[in-house]
Symmetry: C2
Subunit: 318 residues, 2 copies
């Protein structure tokens, strides 16, 4: 369930644009107004606002936000204002072009490939081609080394059947295939890649269940036990994003806020990308796993407009 | 260039539907009217006719055609009347479910993956999921053996960048990768699959050109020289469908009409699928390669309404 709260009576796109325009004018920027408007509109409403703003003022709303805002607040508002497919294409590109390629970056690709609908994934691939003059797959190949490269290319190329059709025989059979590969520590085996990148989500959840029932341990534990390399980390995220995305995103948020510093990019991504999807379940999962409040952890680690914006996406009345 | 001819003044969908309805009524069916109407409308117009027919008579136009027509004529008219993405999803499914899996069947998948636009390929995958309750990739895996399986799954999963962005260094580099694999007769090498399934069409055409310039022989000849197996045949079709689809479809038509019998399924598919795309170029390529007229070959090998329908799609005034 989503955390995003939309007012009972939503102003027209023209009204929203006029208020945004006002918020940009004068000496200071009225950040609170921006949060109040954009932070309480769904993707369809934000699209209409972007289009209306362009028509009314012959200017891109995104460009105005870029010039008016700054820091983590700016990044969060802009990601939220983009069309979700364009947002994810940009996040993927940023991850691939970053000098570091640890799990922090590579998990962004896995989230798009495994924790989105097949339809959204295709839209991201289309947006990627339009924005960056090469395909997402080509950029993965150019920027990620094998064997992770092969896995990511196959995952982003998937177009899974999206209804709950499950075959128990296949689940048992493919649990055995996965178990054999994990036992042999051949995590990049063609068959593993095939199973994870072609089967529908419901079928894979059943396969993971069979794995646990037939071999005594959960597949993510067994993958992690294979080693501490990037391949193991990526495959663990694949399993979580398919099996229970809320578990994955709870962990992303926890990792972002834990310790002294904060990883604002990961925190922003998790909140912005899931506020309209399952952030309520992420919150519940966070509480169950870490025995503490996710919202409080975010409040403690952020401040100012950035904090207010994230809290608004989390449903708070700022 | 297309061969399909649309009249200067196109009747409204309602008029077309009324005439189709009349053609179905009475003792016999008026096949000529059906050919005259459907055989002279483009995909968008046929879509409107399908929708209008359903609204006017609360019946599916496709179902009426199934019950009114017969034989190869029926098959051709129905394939032509489907939405192109649904048509190709059905063709792919028929090919995968057929008992024989020679190049005659498997090339259908290659055509969809390599001789269509990225957008159309995605639409076919979506239609496939809707119609057959599994993904195209899953059905390839269930019905085609390795190593061809791996190649087909990667090709249908592609979403190539669709503009003419070409990098000469990459072309030379990847021509060398392909040459090394062909020399070693490792046609299903991961790198071969990667290059063929992720690079844009224009880049691949340049890579094939580099191959010829750098190694003296064209890549399709070298692939064929590797052996007479299904893997070599499939890869040759991949190269042709990317490099010059008109060459491939000219060969499909020639093979369909050559000798005593006719392969009506392949002939129908080539004409129906390319009439709106490049059938004019296929005709020219046929003439250049076989020094004879494609249209005459088809006239000699077909008869009756089936012949008239194919000729109409080829632009003739029947």
């Amino acid at each position: 369930m989503a955390t995003l709260r939309i007012p009972d009576v939503v102003p027209s796109p023209v009204e929203d644009c006029e208020r945004l325009k006002n918020a940009f004018q004068g000496l200071g920027t009225d950040e609170k107004a921006i949060i109040r408007i954009l932070g309480r509109r769904n993707a369809g409403q934000r699209k209409k606002i972007r289009e209306t703003y362009q028509q009314l003022y012959n200017k891109s709303l995104i460009d105005c936000l870029i010039s008016e805002l700054s820091g983590d607040f700016r990044k969060a508002v802009i990601l939220w204002t983009y069309d979700p497919a364009e947002r994810d294409a940009r996040l993927a590109n940023e991850a691939l072009k970053s000098r570091k390629k640890s799990i922090i970056q590579l998990q962004v690709i896995v989230e798009i490939a495994c924790a989105s609908s097949p339809h959204h994934l295709v839209a991201v691939r289309q947006a990627y081609c339009s924005l960056f003059h090469s395909s997402l797959e080509e950029d993965i190949i150019a920027n990620v080394s094998p064997p992770v490269q092969k896995i990511l290319v196959s995952l982003v190329s998937s177009y899974r059947y999206d209804k709950a059709v499950v075959d128990d025989d296949i689940a048992n059979e493919e649990a055995a295939i996965l178990h054999k590969a994990i036992e042999a520590k051949k995590l990049d085996d063609d068959e593993v890649v095939r199973v994870l990148s072609t089967r529908n989500k419901f079928q894979l959840i059943q396969t993971f269940l069979c794995y646990k029932n037939n071999y005594g341990k959960s597949i993510d534990q067994e993958i992690v036990a294979c080693g501490k390399g990037i391949l193991e980390s990526v495959l663990k995220v694949v399993v979580w994003c398919i099996d229970s995305p809320e578990k994955h995103f709870a962990e992303v948020i926890k990792t972002a806020v834990v310790g002294l510093g904060t990883d604002e990019d990961s925190l922003t991504r998790a909140i912005v990308c899931r506020a309209e999807i399952d952030l309520m379940s992420v919150r519940a999962e966070y509480f169950n796993t870490y025995k503490s409040s996710m919202d409080n952890a975010i409040i403690d680690d952020t401040s100012g407009d950035y904090k207010n914006f994230l809290m608004t996406l989390l449903g708070a009345n700022i």
